[in-house]
């Protein structure tokens, strides 16, 4: 990898891990896992289901919050604070800056997910007293959650490249919510007619499909996740994120840093 991208990514990672807000959010996520244990104990015979459902949902939600709130400031904060000036006056291309920022935050989220996953598995081991091979499905769900983070980071970065942090946060959360219902939107498009069908289909394929990346309920019920889905989701997220990041680069390459 280009050394400059790596240095920018490392600095972004270091900035994120030194942010106290991050630790508060991780602590909340771990508390949610602990709460899942309590709720599980009063849910007769479905303790494991409750722990997986609540634990993974906590990892997903808090990760999304971290991705959006750090992601929206990745570019705009650097412009506001003028830290970008001393970076771009060096032999650093603008696309390298965007790529470095993206990789830094994605790396931060992977590390966060790792620690939060330890909390989920600890809760699971506490409730079921042992881990079995079927619990590996939780790892697939966690992998899909990381893919969600990658996509939302790319989106937050795109908005951050031209908008203010508040609008970026609104846009990113709005897209996350709509994207979580992407499958419903596709079903609606299939039933619609005329111009509505065209618009609904276009919207359904343009919004990020977060619903395909949510297999928490499936995993909680012990259903296996098909290998094909893993491959398709990975390809989809890589292509979608690359397209979004290309958009961010196109905008940022032309932007005057007033």
């Amino acid at each position: 990898m280009n050394a400059r991208i790596l240095h920018i990514a490392t600095n972004t990672f270091r900035e994120a891990v030194r942010d106290r807000v991050l630790y508060n959010l991780i602590a909340f996520a771990l508390l949610m896992s602990a709460a899942a244990v309590l709720v599980g104990q009063i849910s007769i015979h479905i303790e494991k289901l409750v722990v997986i459902n609540l634990g993974l949902t906590a990892v997903s939600l808090f990760g999304i919050v971290i991705a959006v709130f750090i992601g929206i400031g990745l570019v705009s904060k650097e412009i506001d604070k003028r830290t970008l000036y001393t970076v771009l006056s060096r032999p650093v291309r603008r696309w390298e800056f965007i790529a470095g920022k993206f990789l830094g935050l994605a790396g931060t989220l992977v590390v966060n997910t790792f620690f939060m996953a330890i909390g989920v598995f600890a809760a699971l081991a506490y409730v079921s007293h042992h881990l079995e091979s079927a619990d590996l499905g939780v790892l697939v769900a966690l992998y899909f959650i990381v893919l969600q983070f990658v996509m939302i980071t790319a989106l937050a970065l795109l908005f951050s490249s031209f908008s203010t942090p508040i609008f970026s946060a609104i846009f990113a959360f709005w897209l996350f919510v709509i994207g979580s219902f992407a499958q419903d939107l596709r079903n609606f498009a299939a039933m619609a007619h005329g111009i509505t069908r065209f618009l609904a289909t276009a919207a359904a394929y343009l919004v990020p499909n977060f619903s395909a990346l949510n297999v928490i309920s499936q995993v909680a019920h012990g259903e296996p996740v098909p290998h094909r889905l893993i491959l398709l989701n990975t390809t989809y997220v890589l292509v979608y994120s690359a397209a979004v990041l290309s958009g961010a680069v196109l905008i940022f390459e032309r932007r005057n840093l007033k």
Binding site: N11, R82, T83, L84, S89, R90
Partner: protein, 352 residues
């Protein structure tokens, strides 16, 4: 003989052609660079931040870019750094295009009122910038320590920047600008926020850069700094170049007046009648009078046995020149509506 003359003549012609084709490399060469912003959300309107600017800075020069706040100094620097894109014209630094990474590896930049990643310590910050500038990993630590020593931040090297004072941040900013041993250093208001000691240190640092053959282009509105440091200055106002020239030339003109200073507040009879402006402060008196009255005034002081401190001809200060440029333009603006003002500036003194 004629044959030899012809040979010399043709050699000179070739030399001139060669020099025209390959001019001595300029550190900075700005050709008609201009910037117009589109402002307004619904109704876009053009706002000119910089009129076409022509400027040449030789290698090894300390060049001052002077102007009041909002004159266009920072816009020019941002254009040169590739942070904003020009609406017209072009510029080259060290003979290379502004977006050339090879050029960017050879320049240093201190922005106005710098703010750095406050989660980093001074040492981490400089390591980061050194890595981005392509400093050799083996030399990085020693270079970082050397520059921290140079800007007197070595004792605070492991302190996070969020705990730095404004002056310390400014010094960290200068450190990051010179860390990678650049050939051209751009400093935007390098003295701002510094106490008198800090200003002196920065002045020494800039002089030090010159002795090491670096080119320094710095913007300021503090004229005494420019007068003390610069080989040449340019004055910019309302986005337009108003004057350019060597500091020595700009401040050389004598008004035909002398300034005489002596001890005690006593003013001998007759000096006031010589058309002198008298200013007494504490136990000394300063008068400014026409040069032809100098001998008579000194004779009067001698008669009164007053102790002479100094006799110096009154020269135009850079401040006088600066005010004159801005004042002239203000008058001309009042009487005529502004059209395109092609700025000139190929190194000669402009006096309007």
């Amino acid at each position: 003989m004629a044959c030899t003359d012809r040979a010399i003549y043709s050699f000179e012609s070739l030399l001139i052609i060669f020099l025209r084709c390959f001019p001595a490399m300029l550190a900075i060469n700005i050709l008609g660079l201009e910037k117009i912003y589109n402002v307004g959300f619904w109704r876009k309107r053009a706002k000119r931040a910089l009129w076409p600017l022509n400027l040449r800075v030789e290698e090894g020069e300390i060049f001052g870019f002077l102007g009041p706040n909002g004159a266009g100094k920072t816009t020019t620097l941002k254009l040169l750094m590739g942070l904003v894109f020009p609406s017209g014209g072009s510029a080259r630094i060290l003979g290379m295009e502004l977006d050339d990474p090879r050029m960017k590896a050879q320049i240093g930049f201190l922005p106005e009122q710098p703010y750095f990643y406050d989660h980093l310590t001074a040492r981490e910050l400089l390591r980061y910038y050194g890595q981005l500038s392509g400093v050799d990993a083996k030399q990085l630590s020693s270079k970082v320590d050397a520059v921290l020593e140079q800007v007197k931040l070595i004792d605070s090297a492991n302190v996070q920047l969020r705990k730095f004072s404004k002056g310390m941040l400014q010094r960290a900013g200068i450190a990051q600008a010179i860390l990678h041993d650049p050939k051209v250093v751009f400093l935007d208001e390098p003295m701002s926020g510094l106490d008198p000691m800090g200003r002196r240190e920065v002045r020494n640092l800039i002089e030090d850069l010159k002795t090491h053959g670096k080119t320094v282009f710095f913007s300021t509105h503090i004229l005494s700094d420019a007068e003390a440091l610069c080989d040449r200055v340019a004055i910019i106002h309302q986005g337009e170049l108003r004057g350019i020239g060597a500091v020595a030339e700009l401040t050389a003109s004598v008004h035909g007046k002398v300034e005489i200073v002596w001890q005690t507040a006593v003013v001998p009879a007759g000096i006031r009648s010589m058309g002198a402006e008298c200013h007494s402060a504490g136990d000394s008196t300063r008068v400014i009078l026409p040069e032809e009255n100098q001998d008579a005034a000194l004779e009067a002081l001698r008669r009164e046995h007053l102790r002479l401190i100094s006799v110096v001809p009154v020269r135009t200060s850079l401040e006088d020149y600066f005010v004159a440029q801005l004042g002239t333009s203000a008058k001309s603006e009042a009487v005529s509506s502004r059209t395109l003002h092609p700025a000139t500036g190929d190194g000669q003194v402009i006096k309007r």
